[in-house]
C-alpha cells in the first residue's frame, strides 16, 4: 500500500482536487473527510440538504475558511500557489448591498490581481469590466447603485465580477437562490458558454429538479461524500435517499428520477 505516493494524473489535470477534507466548527465536523476530484471542463453540482456542509466545503477548498485536515490541489499543485485560477461567486446575501458602490465598481474589484498599487483604474480596465457586464446582460446598469438592484441583478453582477477574472475554474455558491426565472436562464446560458470555452464550473445547487438539465456531474454531499460522478449514473433515487436521509417523498423522487432509473430492471 502506497501512503505517500505521487499525485495521480487525474489529480494533476483537475482544476480542483480535494482529498480528505474536514472542516470543523468547535469540534463539530460540518464536512468530514471528503475526497472529490472535479473533472476538467465539466459543470458540476454539489447537492445536499441544508447544513450538509456544501458552502463550507467550497469555502475551505478556496482557502476562505481554515480546514482541519485535507489537501486541496489545483492542477496538481497546492491551492495556495494557484488561487488566481479560481473565480468565486459567493452567496448573494453574504455582503451588505448598501455599501457605497456602483455596479461597475463591484465588477472592477474582480480585476484586483491585475492592478498593482501604483496603477489607477484606467479605461482598458473599465472596458474589461463592461465586457463582463454585457455578457450577463447588465451593461445598461453600470452606473447604478448596487443597493438599487433586485436579487437577480445582484447575482448577475457577482457573476460578472467572476467573469472578469477569466479563471479556469469558477465556483458558485447557490447562484440561483432567490433570482427571477429570466436571470436563472441568463446565468445558465453564461455558464454553458464558459463550459463550451473549456472552462470548469462547480456550483452549489439547491433545486433538485434542474440538476439534470444544467449539470453533467454531481457530488451528493451530506457532511460526508455520499456519491459522485456523472449525473446520469449518480443522480439516482437510491443515492438521493441516502443523501437526504429518506426525507424525500416518493412523488418528489419520481419527478426527479425517470422511472427506469429509480427501479433498475423494471422495464
Amino acid at each position: 500500500m502506497n501512503v505517500t505516493g505521487k499525485i495521480s494524473d487525474t489529480v494533476a489535470a483537475s482544476p480542483l482536487a480535494i482529498q480528505g477534507l474536514t472542516v470543523s466548527y468547535d469540534h463539530r465536523p460540518v464536512v468530514y473527510s471528503v475526497d472529490f476530484v472535479v473533472r476538467p471542463g465539466s459543470m458540476t453540482a454539489i447537492v445536499g440538504p441544508n447544513g450538509a456542509g456544501k458552502s463550507s466545503l467550497l469555502k475551505a477548498a478556496l482557502g476562505v475558511t481554515r480546514r482541519l485536515t485535507g489537501d486541496v490541489r489545483v492542477f496538481g499543485r497546492p491551492l495556495e500557489q494557484m488561487t488566481e485560477h479560481i473565480a468565486y461567486v459567493p452567496q448573494r446575501n453574504s455582503v451588505d448591498w448598501d455599501f457605497p458602490a456602483t455596479v461597475i465598481d463591484v465588477v472592477t474589484m474582480g480585476l484586483f490581481r491585475q492592478l498593482r498599487w501604483w496603477q489607477l483604474t484606467r479605461r482598458r480596465h473599465t472596458d474589461q469590466a463592461m465586457e463582463s457586464l454585457t455578457r450577463v446582460g447588465m451593461e445598461a446598469f453600470a452606473e447604478r447603485q448596487i443597493g438599487e438592484l433586485s436579487g437577480g441583478q445582484q447575482q448577475r453582477v457577482f457573476l460578472a465580477r467572476a467573469l472578469v477574472q477569466q479563471a479556469e475554474l469558477t465556483i458558485l455558491d447557490e447562484p440561483f437562490a432567490g433570482v427571477d426565472a429570466a436571470t436563472e436562464k441568463a446565468i445558465v446560458e453564461v455558464l454553458k458558454q464558459l463550459r463550451a470555452e473549456g472552462r470548469t464550473l462547480l456550483c452549489v445547487h439547491h433545486d433538485l429538479s434542474t440538476v439534470r438539465d444544467y449539470f453533467d456531474e454531481v457530488l451528493l454531499l451530506n457532511v460526508r461524500r455520499v456519491a459522485a460522478g456523472p449525473v446520469d449514473r449518480v443522480f439516482s433515487a437510491e443515492n438521493l435517499q441516502a443523501t437526504y436521509g429518506g426525507r424525500l417523498n416518493p412523488v418528489q423522487l419520481e419527478r426527479l428520477v425517470p422511472a427506469a432509473l429509480a427501479t433498475p430492471g423494471a422495464t
Binding site: 478556496l62 459567493p90 451588505d96 455599501f99 457605497p100 484586483f112 446582460g137 465580477r161
Partner: protein
C-alpha cells in the same frame, strides 16, 4: 476676526503655518483611514484605541520625567501611547475571539479599564516632582498653541507617511470592506489587512494626540467620512472626499484657535467637522434632507401623472386638480380637458408599462417587493432588456385580462 483671516491665509508666522499644515495632513489621513474603518463597520474600535492611549502616555511621561526631569518629549510620549493602545487593541481582539462576547462588549470593557488606569496615573503625576505637568492636559483636549516647530514637523511627516501607506493599500482595504470572503480568494490575507487597517488607525490617533487630544481624535476619524458619505456613492470618491473634509476641519479648527490663544484646538477642529457634517446632512444632493424633501415632491408628482395617464387610457374622468394641472403642463391634455395626440400615446405607453409591471409582480412577487417603487419607474430602467423581452412575450393580448 482679523487674526483669524491672517491665520487662514497662512500669514501669521512660520510656526502657526507649520502647525496648520501638520494638522491638515493629520486631518486628511484621519479622514482617509476613517472612511475605510467606517466601511468596515468598525468605527467603534477607534474609540477603544484612543482611550487606551492614556495609560501609556502617562507612564511614558513618568519615565521620561524620571530620566530627564521634564516629561514633555513628544516622540517618547507618542511611543508610550502607541504601545498601550496596541495592547488595548490586542486585548479587544483576544476577548472577542476567545469568548462569546461581541466586539462591542470587548471594546466597552477594555476602553473603560484603560482609561481608568490612565486617570489614576495622571493623579500620581500631579503629586510627583516633575516639570511640564501642565503640558499633559494638552494631550487630553488638544493644544497647538505652544507647539514647537520640530513637533509640528514630526506630526506632518508622520501624517504624510500614513497618507502614502493608505494609498498603497486602498484596493486591498476596499475589497476587504465590501466582501472579505471574496478578498481572500483574490489572495488578500483578510486577517492581515484588518490588522494593517487598525495599525494605521492607531498611528493616526497617536500622532493626532497633541493636536486634538485623545478623546476628540475619534471625531476626526468618524465625522469626515460620514459627511463624505452624504455626497457620493462611490468608494474612491468617498475616501478622497473624507480626506479633504478632514483636512478642511483641521484647517478651520487650527486657524480659529490660533486667532484666540485660549480656545482649545481639538474642540474647535471637532466643531468644524461637525459644521461640515451639518451642511452635508442638510444640503447634500440625493441623500441630504432638502434633497429628500424635493425627491418626495417629485415622486408625488410622478404618481399623479401616472395615475392621470392611466385614467385617460381607461377613459375614466379625472377630478384631482394637481393631476389635471400636471397633465396640462406636460401637454397631454388641452385646456378644455381633451387629450392631445401626444397625451393619447403617453396614456397607451403608461397602460402598457402597467401591464408589464402587473405581470412581473404576478410572476416574481419576491423580486417585485425588492424594487421600492415597482410599477412607477419605467420598467426598462429597472429590469435588464432580456427580462423585459421575456415579460413581453408572456404578456396576454390586450383586453383578455382586466
Amino acid at each position: 476676526m482679523e487674526a483669524w483671516w491672517r491665520a487662514l491665509a497662512f500669514s501669521s508666522g512660520y510656526n502657526t503655518t507649520l502647525v496648520t499644515v501638520g494638522a491638515m495632513l493629520l486631518g486628511a489621513s484621519a479622514g482617509m483611514i476613517g472612511a475605510f474603518v467606517l466601511l468596515r463597520k468598525r468605527s467603534l474600535v477607534s474609540d477603544a484605541i484612543t482611550h487606551a492611549t492614556l495609560p501609556g502616555l502617562a507612564l511614558a511621561f513618568i519615565l521620561i520625567g524620571l530620566i530627564q526631569g521634564d516629561g514633555r518629549w513628544l516622540p517618547g510620549l507618542l511611543l508610550g501611547a502607541a504601545l498601550s493602545s496596541a495592547l488595548g487593541l490586542w486585548l479587544v481582539q483576544l476577548v472577542s475571539a476567545r469568548t462569546r462576547l461581541g466586539e462591542d462588549a470587548a471594546i466597552g470593557a477594555v476602553l473603560s479599564t484603560f482609561f481608568a488606569f490612565g486617570v489614576v496615573l495622571i493623579t500620581v503625576i500631579q503629586s510627583m516632582n516633575v516639570t511640564g505637568q501642565s503640558g499633559l492636559t494638552g494631550y487630553l483636549v488638544g493644544s497647538t498653541a505652544g507647539m514647537l516647530a520640530a513637533e509640528a514637523m514630526l506630526i506632518a511627516v508622520c501624517a504624510l507617511g500614513l497618507l502614502a501607506a493608505i494609498f498603497v493599500l486602498r484596493r486591498e482595504f476596499l475589497l476587504v470592506c465590501f466582501d472579505a470572503d471574496f478578498a481572500q480568494t483574490q489572495g488578500v490575507n483578510t486577517w492581515r489587512a484588518d490588522l494593517l487597517l487598525l495599525m494605521l488607525l492607531m498611528a493616526v490617533v497617536v500622532i493626532g494626540l497633541k493636536v486634538t487630544g485623545l478623546i476628540l481624535i475619534v471625531a476626526l476619524t468618524i465625522t469626515p467620512p460620514v459627511s463624505a458619505r452624504f455626497w457620493t456613492n462611490r468608494p474612491p470618491r468617498m475616501v478622497a472626499l473624507a480626506a479633504v473634509l478632514g483636512a478642511l476641519s483641521a484647517y478651520l479648527g487650527v486657524t480659529l484657535s490660533s486667532a484666540r490663544e485660549s480656545l482649545p484646538t481639538g474642540s474647535l477642529i471637532v466643531l468644524s467637522a461637525f459644521g461640515i457634517f451639518l451642511v452635508s446632512f442638510l444640503a447634500a444632493p440625493r441623500r441630504g434632507v432638502f434633497a429628500s424633501l424635493m425627491a418626495h415632491q417629485r415622486f408625488r408628482r410622478r404618481v399623479h401623472l401616472r395615475q392621470g395617464l392611466l385614467s385617460m387610457s381607461r377613459s375614466e374622468p379625472i377630478f384631482d386638480g394637481l393631476t389635471l394641472r400636471l397633465l396640462r403642463r406636460a401637454g397631454h391634455i388641452r385646456r378644455d380637458g381633451v387629450a392631445t395626440a401626444q397625451g393619447q400615446a403617453a396614456a397607451r405607453d403608461a397602460e402598457h408599462e402597467e401591464r408589464l409591471w402587473a405581470l412581473y409582480r404576478q410572476l416574481f412577487p419576491g423580486d417585485a417587493l425588492h424594487h421600492e417603487h415597482a410599477g412607477l419607474e419605467p420598467i426598462s430602467q429597472v429590469l435588464p432588456p432580456d427580462a423585459i423581452n421575456a415579460l413581453e412575450q408572456r404578456l396576454p393580448p390586450q383586453g383578455e385580462s382586466a
